[in-house]
Symmetry: none
Subunit: 419 residues, 2 copies
Amino acid sequence: MASVKIKKQNNKDFNLEELKQLTNDQLIEKIKSLQAHNVQLKTLLIKSSTETKTSVNRLKKPFDSSKHVLLKFFYLGWDYQGFVVQEDTTKTIEHYLFESLTRTCLIKDRESSNYHRCGRTDKGVSSFGQVISIDLRSKLSADNQHDIENELDYCKLLNRVLPDNIQCVAWSPVKSDVSARFDCTGRTYKYFFPKSCLNIEKMSRAANNLLGTHDFRNFCKMDVGNGVVEYIRNILFINISLFDENDTEDNERTMYVITIRGKAFLWHQIRCIMAVLFLIGEGKEEETIIDELLDVNKNSRKPEYFMASEVPLNLFQCDYDIENNWRYDESSLSIVKAKLKSMWTFHNIKGTMILSMLNELDRSCPTDLEIQNYLHLENKTKRYIPLMARKRCESLEEKIKHYVKRSRLEIHNEPESTT
Amino acid sequence: MASVKIKKQNNKDFNLEELKQLTNDQLIEKIKSLQAHNVQLKTLLIKSSTETKTSVNRLKKPFDSSKHVLLKFFYLGWDYQGFVVQEDTTKTIEHYLFESLTRTCLIKDRESSNYHRCGRTDKGVSSFGQVISIDLRSKLSADNQHDIENELDYCKLLNRVLPDNIQCVAWSPVKSDVSARFDCTGRTYKYFFPKSCLNIEKMSRAANNLLGTHDFRNFCKMDVGNGVVEYIRNILFINISLFDENDTEDNERTMYVITIRGKAFLWHQIRCIMAVLFLIGEGKEEETIIDELLDVNKNSRKPEYFMASEVPLNLFQCDYDIENNWRYDESSLSIVKAKLKSMWTFHNIKGTMILSMLNELDRSCPTDLEIQNYLHLENKTKRYIPLMARKRCESLEEKIKHYVKRSRLEIHNEPESTT
């Protein structure tokens, strides 16, 4: 068996004495190796700046005509800093959306595109059914707009340049005055969670008490500074069910989903609702806490509590009076489904690998591990303090007074429409 | 040799002809400049990475005594650039390992810690059973080393400062000459994969042909430049099984695991084996391709093919003659298990959310989606070319000749021990 001695490690930096000992050929070898390493480092540096360059001065096709459309798309929001564009990061859904719209020359720029969005979602939150309304370049002349089969394939064009975890699903031509925000007739959220130690029936009963029109100020983060001074909303539908109806197993890993539909929601409303439902499901609060918190006369100041995790939250569906007009392109959707299946596969593999480690650890060293709900920070506190015994936040009236005093708010009489 | 005036731009890369024109002094100048530029680039790279600063000059407790130990730990490698420390990034397992060892004052520094590692794992690869041997600070005096119950709780101390996805599991005191690398009696890898479109029985039969002692040069990436000139290895055990024996369902999502045990493996050996097994499972190659590729006389030059994905690969177990001496601390392990359970929960939630999107897309727009294996790039090529018909890489003999010619290798007669 031949053995090998490596003579020189090319990565070692030589000092002057060592260099003087080398022959011309050896020096040249060294230079070539250093130059190659140099190129490699530069490439890495460019890659390490994670921002995609905003494309400017792209070849702009003249806009023959444009059409007003609704565009439906999904995004897996876990790695993004929220939906809305921000000053200090490009890692937002809107940033990639507008980059794809301009790169494909479907719009000139955001300002002239007549853009509205159905809803804002926060950092880490996903959406299956987000909708925007926007004017897009049309292949058809102004006279020929009815020839819809020959229109540009908007989803296909955009999906090629969007990241895999933000993809267009369907589009629909609409009248020019339709707004994704103001014409939305209903918004549905889903929240996915494993059973863990939760009493699902208790949670279901408690959830029913949220149905209907209530003042939800104790189930959200108040946003008085941005003009939100009334907190009455109507929950049209709420339900907890098995994710997979055919799931026969009923253990801590069994997946459930809560579906909540309303016309509009308050800031962090779903995550606050989930936090309280979790406390009920864990037996830390009684179901009656729901009615307590909805009674804003009796409880005008919200007890301090952590929201539930944002990871399982999904703006699943946004409704408009156009259900039968959504245009789905089969070939485009096949590609989207393959991307989703691929992502699902990798999550499943990672979950399986972690499970195998857990099983092996249990074999080597069995320990009694209490079943925990990992979806809210409430569990990290050692001693549980009942909600009604906790420190309270400022009331709505106190907050309004505070902002009026600082001349940041003026109170008028007409109702404010909120998202 | 005519001298040439070097252009003022030190950054310009010279080609061979230009270099041959330079004097030795000019070549040396060039080298010094390139070395300095490289150092600068490396510094910039490290700054641009978001990593925690390496702590230097921490308050160092004087080392009363130290002991030689084996330390067993796991890591989820998906977000790291491999196990081994690298010049241009701090996102390596070893970086965090040594940071935790110095922060806890368990070692002074890497150089004096008598450190060996069982195996190297590449970018994206995980491990459940990685082992290192190292000298750690001991609470016990040199005379009192047998009082092992009162020794420092190494795992607990380190886990507090390690990231959640790198955690210590157990440790064992060993004789001072024990090496994690050279005293390892066997290494076991696991690779987790969903059934997708694969014929598992065919893959199992083919896998059996890999058992035993063979020349695996066609099932790896040859590393002649680093002195690896012989490719004979012994696979002691190989098996494909259901991940969950109680799994009654048998569809594309059903999880399988392949377990492969040997004394030592070649670079990318498992990923190459998986790539070929996948081709067999997908019906693109016959089972006989295994014997073909193991016949290095007939096939001395490896056909070009993509490796399988690194995400499902896990260095699961490393064996030593000390099985009953691993010390597991229950309370420490409870915390580790809770962390793993939390990570598992989030992967499962994400997978479930993606599945719900897929189901909904299927409802809105049913398409026939061919079942695909997402674990190797082979599937991205449109037309399948059989392995035996493909372009071939250089043979081992050709590679050796190449490196010997460039004076980077010397061939001797005594045997070389390899990992």
